[in-house]
Every structure is written in C-alpha cells, then in structure tokens.
Amino acid sequence: MFATYDEAMQSLEQVDIVDICLPTYLHKTYVMKAADDGKHVICEKPIARHLDDAKEMIEYCKARNVRLFIGQVLRFFPEYREAKRQLDQGAIGTPAIVRTTRASAFPQASNHWYADFEKSGGVILDMIVHDFDFLRWCFGEVERVYAKGMLGRGFYALDYALVTLRFASGVIAHVEGSWAHDSFRMKFEIAGKTGILDYDSARDQPLVAVSRGPKSEFGGVAVPESPLKRNPYFVELQHFLSCIEQNAEPLVTAGDAYEALRIALAAIDSIRTGQPVTLR
C-alpha cells in the first residue's frame, strides 16, 4: 500500500493500468497524471463533475495514446444485460414507458464528500447516472429532460430526485434516485407494446442471511446477496483488460460516459431552472 499516487508510481516496477476510484471531483487530476505517465486508465463513474472536464480527459488520453474506460458498470450487471437482450429480441415489442429506481441510505465517505454537492453532484450524478447510461444504451439518445429534486429545498441528510427523460424514439422514462432510504434497492420496469419486463432487487433475491443477536455489526440485520461466479465489477475489469490487449472497442466507451454525464447535468439544470432541458 502506498500513501500517494506518486509514491506508487516510483516504487512499482511495472504499471500498465491505473484504476481510479477517487471521489468524482478528483477524477480529472488523476486521469491526467496517469495519462502523463503513459498508463491506460480505468476510472470510476461518473466520468467527471463537469462536462468540460470530461471532454478534456477524453481528449487528453487520446492525445497521449492511452485508453480511457469509465466504470458505468450497470452494462455488466446480468439483470440489466438480460433486459437489454430481451429488448433487442423484441420480447416486449416497441418499448413505450420505463420506470427505474436506485435507492440507498446517504453514503458515508471520507470528508463527507458525497454531502458536498459541488464535489459529488448528489444523488443524480452519483447514483442515477448509472440508469441514464443503461437507458441510453437501450433506447438511444435523450431529447428532453425534466427533473425535480431536493436541491435548493434546504439541507437534510438525504437527497431525492425524480427525473423524466423523453427519448428521440418517443420512449418516456421515469428515473428515481434516492439517498433517503435505509437500504440499497434497484428496480426497473419496461412496458412495451406487447409485453412488460420488470426487476426488483428487494424482491428477486436468491439469498438472505440474518444473524440473531443484538443489533450490532450484522446482528439482527438481514444481509441480502446475489452471488455470481463472476461479479459484475470483475466482468467489467476483465472486459476492459481484454479491450486493451486486443485494441477493441469496449461495451461502454468514455463517450457513452460523457453522454450519461450530460443527461445528469441536464437534470440538475432542470431542477435549478424549473424548466425542461432539451439535449438535441
């Protein structure tokens, strides 16, 4: 373990890839540092806090001939992949109206950086940027964004946002993001002309463990798991590595991450102005 990036770089014999899991507002600095060192970069989502930063990061890596991958990991979650596969097979006909949920308790982290909107972008940029990427993967480009959220309504130790997306294809999507609930949950429902797909992580659980005893540690708390031979984060990293080795296009590009960020920032803009934001 090293205290700093520089210490690691000086001490290690060979580094091919740098995986950046820093808070959002630090992504740009360290992506550019790694690119300067000629390392390929895998960076946590969202790509950046601001659009111009994201653009600069993409161009910077390109100019230095290093690959840049953004961990929009939802595309590697089997439940979401299966939904996409069903859609592509026409299982529900032309998609029409979609609902997604991503909810958890308010995240705790060093220096409470999540609670600083200027650093994290709140629940919209940190949580439902996942759903924006997934929805764009499934339904194409977003035409219009309208959103309501806690931003500007006074400070509570929670965040909550309800976003409506209108796609160029006509699809309407409602995206719920919450840091106001007590446990993690994700859901989707996709209604099409001839069928419906739905998933709810709180309902569709293969394993729940509960320890009896006092409510400390894990005692008295149900711990749900959805074990897989290879978890989605592993699959994602493996995919990015093979893209580097084979010089192939990834399932989700930095450009896709840029577009997901654009949707998220449009939602934040819409909350601030009270008006819909047109993206195209």
């Binding site: 029409a96 109206i97 959103a147 909550y160 409506t164 409602h174 007590d182 209604a191 819909p276």
Partner: protein, 326 residues
C-alpha cells in the same frame, strides 16, 4: 332511502350498485341508460327497473343518484339531478372541462343537494393508514411523493376523447392527485408532463408522467399510464412512495393478494383486501341520511384534480410547466 343510477357506461356502476344493494334501508329504485340493452341488462342483474332516459329517472321519488355516464355527459346529468333536488355521487373525473365542473358544483349548491366525487381510494384501509402515519409525524415532514396509478387500456368510449375528455392522463391522474391533496391539505401549484400515445393503436394518450409542485413545497411525480397488458397478473395499481425528513412510507394499496397460477388464466393476483367502493357508497349514503351540508369528498375536490389533468395536457403540448395557481 331510494337511489337511482344514471348510466352503466362506466364499469364502476356495477360495484356501486352492488354496494347500494348491501346497505340496509337503501333501495335501488331504478336505472336510466341511453343504451337500452345495457340498462335493461343491469336492471335485471340488480332486480330493479329500467326507466329509459335520465329525465324519467329524475321524475321518480328518489333521494339521490349515482352518475356513472361517460365523462362528457356528467355535466348534463348532474345539473339535471341537482335541479330535480337529488343528491349526487358522480364518477371521476368530475367533468371534462373546468367550466362544466364549476357549473355542476354551482347547480348542486343552488339546489341544496350534495355533490360527492367518487374517489373510492380514500376508503382503502392502507391509504387511510398512510394518511394517519403522516399525520402522526412518523416520517417527519413530507418532502416528496412518487405516485403511480397504472391500468389497462379500457377501450370503448374511454379512448374517444369526445366522450372521455382524454386518455390515460385524464383517467388516471385524478385518483392519486386527490390522495396527495388529501394527505397534505395542499394544492398543486405547477404541473409538467410528458404524455403520448405509445402503446395502443388507437390514437389517444396511453402513457404519461406528471411532475407536480405543491404549494407546501413538496414535489411529486405521477405515472398515470395504461401500461398493464393482458398478461400482467393484475389490472393495475395505486402506489405512493412518500419521502419525509424522518422516514419513508411505501404504499401499494392493492398488494393484499394471493398469487394464482392457472393453466387457463396464467398468473393472476387474487385481491383479498377490503372493498373500497363499498366504503365510498356507504359514506355518501350516510352523508345524505344525516343531512350533511357538505360531502366528505366534494365537487371542488373533483374539480381540483381535473385541473391538474388538464394542465398536464397543456404542459405536454408546450414542453413547459404550467402554473395552476401562483
């Protein structure tokens, strides 16, 4: 007490008639319907008389009427009933225009009869409990509500705007908007909506997401889509996710069910919860009997919800939020 029903165009007439039959001392005195075949059929089913048109029904010695005609005919039927001195329980949405709704309210007031809007969900025990929990401060101050009222496309006159006033947005906005208003005693200030015809081949709005801003600073969304297909295990839902400063409430009113897996019918939810239509009708009859000056759910309650649905259409058209009141 004698009660008549004007039209079985809306399928809720069936359960309201059942509810009337179950109340001691209440007689279903007759059915009027501009569709004679339908009128005679239900007169038979409920052991009452088919009287022909509504003017004939209003000549009878009855105390009250249930108006379950097509939405666009509510005004004509309610105003006539009011002028004949009959108390009215009117199916939702109250009217297809604000002007019609106001005329109905005024006519009932001038003639000293009750006008109750049929929002039966207010009588669902889980809904009543949610209101109670909010009132007790269990989740602190309400900050936001995410609502749904999904359903199947009912077809028939519901998809003819001349008779219905609109599609899913008109049909399914009013219930949950009424619940939100009732829970918070606050009015909707501003409405935004995305709505379209995306599922059915009949050109009428069947998908919609409304975003609402309330006078008390609470924001909300409402999915009013007819997005339940025929293989979905149930007709639809009424749900509300209510986020407060100190907790959350997840309401899924009709999630009192057992699962049926049938080789003939497929997978179905079999509801075993209480019958809210019975509560609605019993409340209306109780108000008439006790000579109340105002119904529990007023014509104004019905009209406020209609205003929101009409504003949603305007917002969807303009791609801009619409102010209802400043």
């Amino acid at each position: 007490m004698k009660v008549g029903i004007i039209s079985f165009a809306h399928m809720h007439a069936y359960s309201y008639a059942h509810a009337l039959k179950r109340i001691a001392g209440v007689e279903l005195a007759g059915i009027a319907d501009d569709n004679e075949e339908r009128g005679r059929k239900y007169a038979d089913v409920f052991g009452t008389v088919y009287v022909g048109n509504y003017e004939e029904l209003l000549k009878l010695d009855i105390d009250a009427v249930v108006v379950t005609s097509e939405n666009a005919k509510h005004r004509e039927h309610v105003v006539a009933a009011a002028k004949a001195g009959k108390h009215v329980l009117c199916e939702k949405p109250l009217a297809t225009t604000v002007k019609d709704g106001q005329e109905m309210i005024d006519a009932c007031r001038e003639n000293g009869v009750l006008l109750q809007t049929a929002f039966p969900v207010r009588f669902h025990p889980a809904v009543i409990r949610a209101k109670q929990l909010i009132g007790e401060g269990k989740i602190g101050r309400v900050l936001a509500i995410k609502g749904t009222n999904h359903g199947q496309n009912p077809g028939g006159w519901f998809v003819d705007p001349a008779l219905s006033g609109g599609g899913a947005v008109f049909d399914h906005t009013v219930h949950v908007v009424d619940l939100m208003r009732w829970f918070m005693s606050s009015e909707v200030k501003e409405v935004y909506a995305e709505a379209d015809n995306l599922i059915s081949d009949t050109p009428i709005d069947d998908c919609g997401i409304l975003s609402l801003e309330f006078e008390n600073g609470v924001f909300a969304t409402l999915d009013c889509s007819w997005s339940r297909n025929k293989t979905f295990p149930t007709w639809g839902d009424v749900t509300m996710e209510i986020v407060g400063t100190a907790g959350t409430i997840s309401l899924d009113a009709f999630n009192q069910k057992i699962n049926l897996y049938s080789d003939e019918k497929g997978h179905k939810y079999q509801y075993w919860g209480d019958d809210m239509d019975e509560g609605l009708v019993a409340d209306f009859i109780g108000s008439v009997r006790s000579g109340k000056k105002e119904a529990f759910i007023t014509g104004e309650d019905g009209l406020r919800a209609v205003e929101v649905a009409l504003a949603a259409y305007q917002a969807a058209e303009q791609h801009a939020p619409v102010m209802i009141r400043s």
